[in-house]
Symmetry: C2
C-alpha cells in the first residue's frame, strides 16, 4: 500500500468518505488511488473555493467532516476564503494539500511557497506528513483534530513522495470526544438571572432544534429574551419550531434588539460585535451597564446546558412555536419582498436553504418562518462566494432533500464555477440569483461609513451593469438549465418547476436595480 492509498483508506475507515477535489501533478497518486478505495466519493470542482465551500456545507449538514484535495500553496490560496468561512462556522473539515516531494523542496521550483503559513490562518491543526510509514497515523490525527468539538479545519500537507512511496498503513482515528458539559452550579447561577431584562444569545449547537426548544421553554417560563448570533452555520426553523431572530447586520438594528438587556448570557456564541467599524461608533454592541455571562462556550455542550436550565427554571413551560402559515403567492412586480414571498409560499418539505442573498434577503425570515421545518445555512465569516459551494456540499450530504440557494449577484461571481459541479453530480439545487445589477450592500456601506460622495467614479466601482451579467447564459454554459423571471408570477412558476424536476436549476430573478 502506498502513502496515498493509506491516506484514502484511513479517511474512509475514519468515516470521511467524500472528497471535494482540485488535483494537480503532486496529487496524482491520490487520484490514482481512488480506484483502489471505491468507498471514497471524489467530487471534482473547477476551482478550489468551490471545493472548500462544499466541504463546509457537507459537514454543516452531516456533522461529520469531508476532505478536500488541493494543489500546493496556490490551490490552498484559492480555497482560503471559504476555509475562513468554515473556520468561523467551526466546521469539521480535513483539508488535504498536496505538496512537492520532500526531495524537491529544496529546489525552489516555480510552485514552491509557504503552505504552512497559509494553512495556519484558517486551520486549528496543521501537520506536514514526513514519511509514508507515518502518513496513515497523520491522517487519523487530522480526522480526530477536525472532529474536536464543535469542529475545526485540520490541514494535512501531503508531499508527493510520501504519497507515492510504498509502506503505508491504515490508522484509526481516536473517537470524537463528546462536548464537555458545564457544571450544574454554573447553570444555577444563570437560572438566578433569568427574566425580561436578561437575554440568551444563542449560537453553534444551540440554534439546532433541541437547543432552540429548550431556550424557548426558558423564554416561555421566565420572560427571558432570545436572540441568535448573526450568522449561524446551521439553524433549524419553520413551522413547529421556535422562531428566534438573528442579530441584525446594521449596528443600529442590532443595538435595538439588545436595548434594555441587563444580563446577556452567551450560549455557544461570542459576544455580539458590529460586523465592521464605522466612524465615531463603538464596535461593541452590548449596552452600557449590561453584564455579559457565559453559559457555554462554543467548545461546550450548549444543548445540555439549555435543557438543564429549562428543567431548573421553567420545567412546565410550553415553548412558543411558529405556526404553519405561508404567505400568499405575490403578483405583479418582482421585488425583494415578492421574491421572499414566493420562497415562503413554495418552500418544499425538509428544504435546506443556503442564504447568501445579503441585502436582497431582508424579507426572507418573516416570509419563511411558517413554512415547513427547514435548515438555514448562512455566510458565517463574511467572505462572499460561499453560497453556491455550500449548496453543493449540502446537496451531496443530503441527496434526498431539496437545496434552495438564494444568492446575491455580485457574490455569485466569486465562485460561479460551483454550477458546473452541481450539473456534473446532478445535485438537486435550485439557485435563485438576486439580480439587482449592483454590489447593493456596498452602496449602503459607502453611506454608512460616511464616505458617500455621490461621485461618479466611486459609484462605478459598485455597479455591475455595463455589461450586464447574463446569469442564464452563465448557468447554461456550465450545464445548469436556467430561466429568467421578471414578475412575481414568473418567479413562482419557474421556482415550482425547478422544484419538481430533479437536478440543478437556476432562476435569474430580475430585481429593481439598486
Amino acid at each position: 500500500m502506498n502513502g496515498a492509498q493509506a491516506v484514502i483508506r484511513t479517511l474512509v475507515d475514519g468515516g470521511v468518505d467524500v472528497c471535494f477535489a482540485n488535483p494537480g501533478t503532486s496529487e496524482m497518486h491520490f487520484v490514482a488511488a481512488l480506484d483502489d478505495v471505491p468507498e471514497m466519493r471524489a467530487v471534482l470542482t473547477l476551482f478550489e473555493g468551490v471545493a472548500t465551500g462544499a466541504a463546509d456545507g457537507y459537514a454543516r449538514m452531516t456533522g461529520s467532516p469531508a476532505a478536500t484535495l488541493l494543489h500546493l500553496g496556490p490551490g490552498l490560496g484559492n480555497g482560503i476564503a471559504n476555509l475562513h468561512n468554515a473556520r468561523r462556522a467551526r466546521t469539521p473539515l480535513v483539508n488535504v494539500v498536496g505538496d512537492h516531494a520532500l526531495t524537491h523542496k529544496g529546489l525552489d521550483a516555480p510552485l514552491e511557497s509557504d503552505i504552512d503559513a497559509l494553512a495556519g490562518t484558517v486551520s486549528g491543526w496543521v501537520r506536514r506528513s514526513l514519511a509514508t510509514s507515518q502518513v496513515g497515523a497523520d491522517t487519523a490525527d487530522a480526522i480526530a483534530a477536525a472532529r474536536e468539538w464543535p469542529g475545526q479545519v485540520a490541514t494535512l500537507v501531503l508531499p508527493a513522495d510520501v504519497s507515492w512511496t510504498e509502506g503505508g498503513s491504515v490508522s484509526l482515528p481516536r473517537g470524537p470526544r463528546s462536548a464537555p458539559r458545564v457544571p450544574d452550579s454554573e447553570v444555577e447561577v444563570i437560572a438566578g438571572l433569568l427574566g425580561p431584562s436578561t437575554m440568551l444569545f444563542l449560537g453553534g449547537d444551540a440554534v439546532l432544534e433541541p437547543g432552540l426548544r429548550a431556550a424557548a421553554q426558558v423564554a416561555a417560563g421566565t420572560g427571558t429574551r432570545l436572540l441568535s448570533q448573526r450568522s449561524p452555520a446551521r439553524m433549524q426553523r419553520g413551522a413547529g419550531l421556535p422562531d428566534v431572530l438573528k442579530l441584525p447586520y446594521p449596528p443600529e438594528g442590532a443595538r435595538k434588539q439588545l436595548d434594555g438587556v441587563q444580563h446577556l448570557v452567551l450560549v455557544g456564541a461570542a459576544e455580539p460585535v458590529a460586523f465592521f467599524g464605522y466612524p465615531g461608533m463603538d464596535g461593541r454592541l452590548v449596552p452600557e451597564g449590561c453584564t455579559v455571562h457565559v453559559l457555554t462556550t462554543p467548545g461546550e455542550d450548549g444543548v445540555a446546558a439549555l435543557q438543564a436550565l429549562a428543567q431548573l427554571a421553567a420545567p412546565d413551560a410550553v415553548p412558543q412555536l411558529a405556526e404553519a402559515r405561508r404567505p400568499d403567492l405575490p403578483t405583479g412586480e418582482l421585488d425583494i419582498q415578492a421574491m421572499a414571498e414566493v420562497v415562503g409560499a413554495l418552500l418544499p418539505e425538509r428544504a435546506i436553504v443556503v442564504d447568501e442573498a445579503l441585502t436582497s434577503g431582508y424579507f426572507l425570515p418573516m416570509a419563511t418562518v411558517g413554512a415547513p421545518a427547514h435548515d438555514w445555512l448562512t455566510l458565517t465569516g463574511g467572505a462572499i462566494g460561499q453560497g453556491m459551494p455550500v449548496a453543493v456540499g449540502a446537496a451531496v450530504a443530503c441527496p434526498d432533500r431539496p437545496v434552495i440557494s438564494l444568492q446575491a449577484d455580485g457574490s455569485a461571481m466569486y465562485t460561479i464555477q460551483a454550477l458546473w459541479t452541481q450539473a456534473r453530480e446532478g445535485l438537486d439545487v435550485t439557485t435563485v440569483i438576486c439580480d439587482n445589477s449592483a454590489y447593493a450592500i456596498l452602496a449602503g456601506e459607502l453611506e454608512s461609513v460616511g464616505a458617500a460622495s455621490g461621485g461618479e467614479r466611486a459609484g462605478k466601482l459598485l455597479d455591475l451593469g455595463g455589461p450586464a451579467l447574463d446569469f442564464v447564459a452563465l448557468a447554461t454554459g456550465m450545464g445548469v438549465p436556467a430561466t429568467r423571471a421578471r414578475t412575481a408570477e414568473e418567479l413562482a412558476e419557474q421556482f415550482r418547476a425547478a422544484l419538481t424536476e430533479p437536478g440543478p436549476h437556476l432562476i435569474d430573478a430580475v430585481l429593481p436595480r439598486s
Copy 2:
C-alpha cells in the same frame, strides 16, 4: 485630506495611476476618494484573482507597478494565486489590502483573520499602516519597495480608520535604484569559459530585446549555446529578433537541451530544476560534471553584463536573427498544430501574446517565431488562472497594442470573471480557448508520476466533459462577443475578424479531445 486621499494622491504622484479593485466596506473611503483624485484609474474586477493577475500583467508591460485594492484576509486569499505568479515574475506591484479599523481589531469580528501571515507568503515587503499622519509615507515606501530592482510585491495593509481619519499628507517615494552592475572582472571570468560546451541560461531582463541581442552576439561569435528559463515574465521575440528556446517543461526534454553542457552560466535566472519531482528522478536538471556559474543574479543588471560580455568576447559578431516568415494558413481539422499555425499566420504587428495554453501550446513557438516582433508573457509560477487576468492588465497598459490570450480550458475556469472586466473596459483582447474538454496536462502527469492506473474514477477527475463547458455562452454571459471554431478555416476567419474589430472577443477553438 483623509488617509484614503493621501494614499491615492501618493500613489498617483509616485507614478502608480492604475488600481485593479475589488473593494468592500473597509475600502469605502478609498473608493470615495477616487472622485477626489481623478488621475487614478480604478478598474473593477469581479474576483480578486483577476485584480492581482491584471496588476501583474500591467507591470510586466510597463515595468512600473499598478496597485490593487483587496478586501481583508479573504480578499487577499482570493488574490494569492496570482500574487504567487507575480512573485515568481518579480513583478513590481503595490498590493493594498483594506482591514478593519484599528479600534475594531480586538473584537474578532467575522472577517478578522491573519492578513499579515497571508501577505508574507507572496510579498517582499509588508507593512500595516497605523496612523493617518504616516499613511502617505507608508504608501511611498510601498511604491519604493515594489520598485526595488527587478521588482516585488509590496503589501500595504490599510485599516479603515486610517483611511477615514483626516490628517493625511502626500509623500514622494524615493527614486527607483537602477540595477547594480557586476564588476568587469566577473564578466572576464565568464568570457574565459565561452564556447560550444558552455550555455548562457537567460532570464529576467536578459530575455528582452537588448539582452537577447547581446547574448545572440556572444553565441554567434563563440559558439556558446543559449537557453531561456522555462517561464519568463516577458520575452521579446519574432522576426528580426534572436530566437532563443525556452527550457522545456518535461524533464526529459529539459535534460536533452542541457546535454553536453559543461559550464552553465546563469544570467538573471535561477538554476534550472524540474517543475515537479517524479519517482526515482533527481529534480536537478544540470548535467553531472557541469559547473554552474553566475553572471548576474535577478537583482543585477543582466543586459549590461551581456553587452559587456559581447563586447569582450565577440565584438564583431553578428547575431543570428529570426527571419520574417509565417506558416501558411492551415485547412481542415483543427488540432493544436493548426491552431498554432493560424496564430502564426495572422499574428498582428506589435502583438502581446499571453500564453496559458499549456499542453495545447506545443507548436506555438515554431509557428510564431517569424511573425512580426511581439511580446510573450508566460505562466511564471505555475498557478493556473493567470492568463486572462494578465491579458486584462497588459491591455490596460498598452491600449494601442493587440493582446492575444491563448488559454487552456481547464485553467480558464479559475478566473473566467476576467472576461467581464475585458468587456467593461473595452479592452482589445482576443482570447482563444484551447478546448480539449480535459485537464490534458494532468493525464500526462498521471502517467509521468507512474500512477497511471487506467482507472475510471481517476480518469473522471481529469475530465471536463459531462457537462461540456460552453465557453461561447460563458463569454457572452459576461458581455464578450464569442464564436466557436471547429475547423482550421473557421478559426482563421474568426481570429481575423476578432483582430479587426475593437474590444474583446473570445473564440472557442474545439480541439480533439485529450
